[in-house]
Symmetry: C2
Subunit: 393 residues, 2 copies
C-alpha cells in the first residue's frame, strides 16, 4: 500500500425519502439563508422542488431558488448566481441535480465567500481558494460523483475554456441520495452515467503505482457490480436495486477510495473533453468513444495490468498475459457497445473526421504542446494524435 | 442497496513519516493547547513521542503529556485526564497509540468539553452528548479501527462495568498512519489485530438485510486481503506491504463501509467481551475463541449466506449450499488456528470451565435476562449458554 491522503467528510444519507432530510441537514451544517440551485424544470414538474421548499418553509429557513444551470455549467451563469446569492445574504447552497448543478453550486459557493475576487481566478490558479460557504446536495443523477468529490469543472463561456478545480473546499457537507429520484432519467443519460462511473474507477486503476491490494480489490468489485447492474438499470430504470447499486457506486468511484495509493491517469477524460468541446457531445459518450483506442495504444505499457483487469473484472481465464489483457480490452469495448455507448467517432454520431480536425483535436488536447496528458503512459502531441486517429472510424 | 447513513469525516494521512504531519494537522483543525495521550513507555523509548513534541515546539504549540492508558481504558484514568486537561486549558487531544489510547482520548475530549457533567453519564445515556473537543490520532497498532470509528469503549473501574458509546462526535479529526510504527509490536498483538479486523467485517457481513452488492463485494475483498496478508505480517512484522494493507484494512473494516445497508450483528463481540471481563484475555483472542461456536450455532439461520462467504472469501467451489457453508466455517476456524489464534477455551488458556462458570458467563452476557444479543440470529440467555458450552473444550 503506497502513501495517500483520504478525506471524505461528506455525510451521505442514502435510500428512499433521503431528500426529506434537507432542512434538518442544512440546519446541522449551519445554513440559515439558502439558495437552491437546479437545472431545467424537471425538479419543478416532478414535485421534488416543492418537497424541499416545504421543508424549509416548515423549519422557517429562508431561501431563494436559482435554476437554469446548463449541462456543461458556464461561468456567466455562475457569476449571476454569485450576484444573486450576495444580494440575498445567502450562507448555504443546496444543489438539486446531477454533476453540472453540483459543480456550479460549488463555484457559486466559492464566489459568494470571496466577494471581491473574480471567481474564475480560482480555476486559473491565479488566486488560491482559502474559504467557501457550505454546499449540500440532493442527487438526481448517478454519474459524476461530484456529490462527494473534491472537483468542479466550469466552462468559461467568455473565452471558451473548460477547467477543473480540485480542492477539499469542493467537498459537499452532505449528499442526500434517493435512487427513486433517478427513475425518470432518459436512457441515454443512464448509459452515459454507467460509462462515467466505470471510467472514474478505470482512470485510477490504470496506474504504475502498483501494490495497493485492497484498493485494487475495491476497484475491481465496483466494476463488477456496475457491469452486472448497469444493463439492468438501463433495461428498467425503475429497478430499485440496480439503480441504488449504481448510485452508490457513482459516489465511491470518484471520492478517492478506488485509487488510494496510486497516481490517477485521466488521459481518456482529457481526450474526451476535447471531443465534447468541439462537437458538444455528452461526457460519458466521449469517454467510451476514446477508451478502447487509448487502451490499445497504451497496452504495451503494462500488459500484466490489463491481464489482471481481465481476470478480476471480466473473469477471463488462461495463463497467457498478452491474450488475457487483449481480451479484457475487447470485453470492455463490447460491453460499452452492448449498452449503446459509442466506441468510435461514427458511433458517437460525429462521423469520420478529416485529417485537419484530428490535428486540431490533438493540438488542443495538449494545449498546443504546453502539456502532456496521462500518467499510466505519458502522452505527448503525437501519441494523442494517433489515439484520435484510431478512434476516427 | 438498502438505506444507510455514511459519515467518515476523519482525514487520513497514510504512509511513511505520516506522523510528521501532527503539528500541521492540529493547527488545521484549530488546536492551540494540546494534550498528548499515550499508553506505556514504548513511544518514549522508540523516539516517537519526541518526534511529535519536536514538531509542536517548532510550531510554538503548547502541550502537555498524559501517559499510562491501560489496555482496557478505565474511567478513573479518564477522569484524571479530564482534570489535567481542564487545569491546562487544553483544546485538542492527540492520541498516540492503538484502540485503548484512542478510546480514552475520546472520553477525555467529551469530559473536557462538558466540565460540569459526570463523563460516565454519556456512556450510561443519562446525559446526551452534544459537544466535544477535537481529537487527532497517531496510530501505532492496526486492530480496533477506532481511528475512524464512531465508537469508544470505557471500563468503569468503580462499578466494574464496560460500556461502549457510539456517536459521530467520537470521529477523530485526523488519523496519521505510518505502517512502520507497527513494526515492533509483539506477534501476539499482531495476531489479535488480524482477528479483530476480520471480525469487524464479519460481524457486519452476517446480516439478514441482504441485497447490498457493492457492500458485500467490499467486505469480501477486505477479508481476502487480510487472509493473504495477515500471515505474512505475522511472519515478518517488518514487511511494509503486509503491514500497510493490514493497517488500512483495519480502518476500512470499522468505519462503516463494509456494512452499509445492513444491520450489524456483533454477537461474537458480546460473547467475547464477557470472556475478557471474567478472565482478562485479549479482545482479539476472545473473538476467535467464540466465532466458530457462534457460526455453528447460527448456521441454520441462513446457510446460503455462509455458502456465499465460503465461495467469495475462501474460494470454495461446488453447488451444494450446506457443504459450502459448513466448509467456510471450517476454513475460518482453521485459519484462526494457523495464525495461533485460540478457537476454544483451552486454546485461550483459561482451560475447560465448570458448568457454574458457563452459567455465569451466559447470565452476564444477556445482562441477567435484560437483553438479547445479535441480529443475524437474535440470541437469548439459553442460546448464549449453548454457544459458550460449545466453545468450552
Amino acid at each position: 500500500m503506497n502513501s495517500f491522503t483520504f478525506y471524505t467528510p461528506t455525510k451521505v444519507i442514502f435510500g428512499r425519502d433521503a431528500e426529506m432530510n434537507a432542512a434538518k441537514e442544512i440546519r446541522e451544517f449551519g445554513g440559515s439563508r439558502v439558495m437552491i440551485v437546479y437545472g431545467g424544470g424537471s425538479i419543478v414538474k416532478s414535485g421534488l422542488l416543492e418537497r424541499i421548499t416545504r421543508q424549509l418553509d416548515n423549519e422557517g429557513i429562508p431561501y431563494i431558488t436559482y435554476g437554469g444551470v446548463k449541462p456543461n455549467p458556464v461561468l456567466s451563469h455562475v457569476r449571476e448566481g454569485i450576484k444573486k446569492a450576495l444580494e440575498n445574504g445567502v450562507d448555504f447552497i443546496l444543489a438539486v441535480g446531477g454533476g453540472s448543478v453540483i459543480d456550479e453550486s460549488k463555484a457559486i459557493a466559492h464566489g459568494t465567500a470571496n466577494p471581491g475576487v473574480d471567481v474564475w481566478s480560482f480555476w486559473t490558479r491565479e488566486v488560491p481558494l482559502e474559504k467557501t460557504i457550505p454546499v449540500g446536495v440532493v442527487l438526481t443523477l448517478s454519474a459524476s460523483g461530484s456529490e462527494m468529490s473534491d472537483s468542479a469543472v466550469i466552462t468559461n463561456d467568455e473565452i471558451r475554456s473548460k477547467r477543473g478545480l480540485s480542492t477539499d473546499l469542493n467537498r459537499p457537507k452532505f449528499a442526500l441520495m434517493n435512487p427513486e429520484l433517478t427513475y425518470t432519467l432518459p436512457k441515454y443519460q443512464i448509459m452515459c452515467g454507467i460509462v462515467d462511473i466505470m471510467m472514474h474507477t478505470m482512470e485510477r486503476y490504470f496506474t504504475n503505482d502498483l501494490g495497493n491490494e485492497i484498493t485494487d480489490e475495491i476497484a475491481e468489485s465496483l466494476l463488477r457490480v456496475m457491469i452486472k447492474n448497469g444493463p439492468v438499470a438501463l433495461e428498467n430504470p425503475r429497478d430499485y436495486h440496480a439503480m441504488s447499486e449504481m448510485m452508490w457506486c457513482g459516489s465511491l468511484s470518484h471520492n478517492g477510495l478506488t485509487g488510494l495509493g496510486g497516481n490517477k491517469d485521466f488521459a481518456t477524460h482529457q481526450l474526451g473533453h476535447e471531443l465534447s468541446a468541439m462537437f458538444d457531445v455528452a461526457h460519458g459518450a466521449s469517454l467510451s468513444t476514446m477508451w478502447g483506442s487509448w487502451a490499445e495504444y497504451c497496452f504495451s505499457q503494462n500488459p500484466e495490468r490489463f491481464a489482471q483487469f481481465g481476470r478480476k473484472v471480466w473473469g477471463i481465464t488462461g495463463e497467457n498475459t498478452e491474450k488475457a489483457g487483449r481480451a479484457a480490452i475487447e470485453k470492455t469495448v463490447s460491453f460499452f457497445a452492448s449498452i449503446g455507448a459509442p466506441t468510435c467517432f461514427s458511433e458517437l454520431g460525429i462521423g469520420v473526421q478529416p485529417e485537419s480536425v484530428i490535428n486540431e483535436l490533438a493540438d488542443r488536447c495538449v494545449f498546443y504542446g504546453k502539456r502532456t496528458i496521462g500518467n499510466f503512459r505519458v502522452l505527448g502531441r503525437d501519441d494523442v494524435y494517433r489515439i484520435y486517429r484510431m478512434a476516427n472510424r
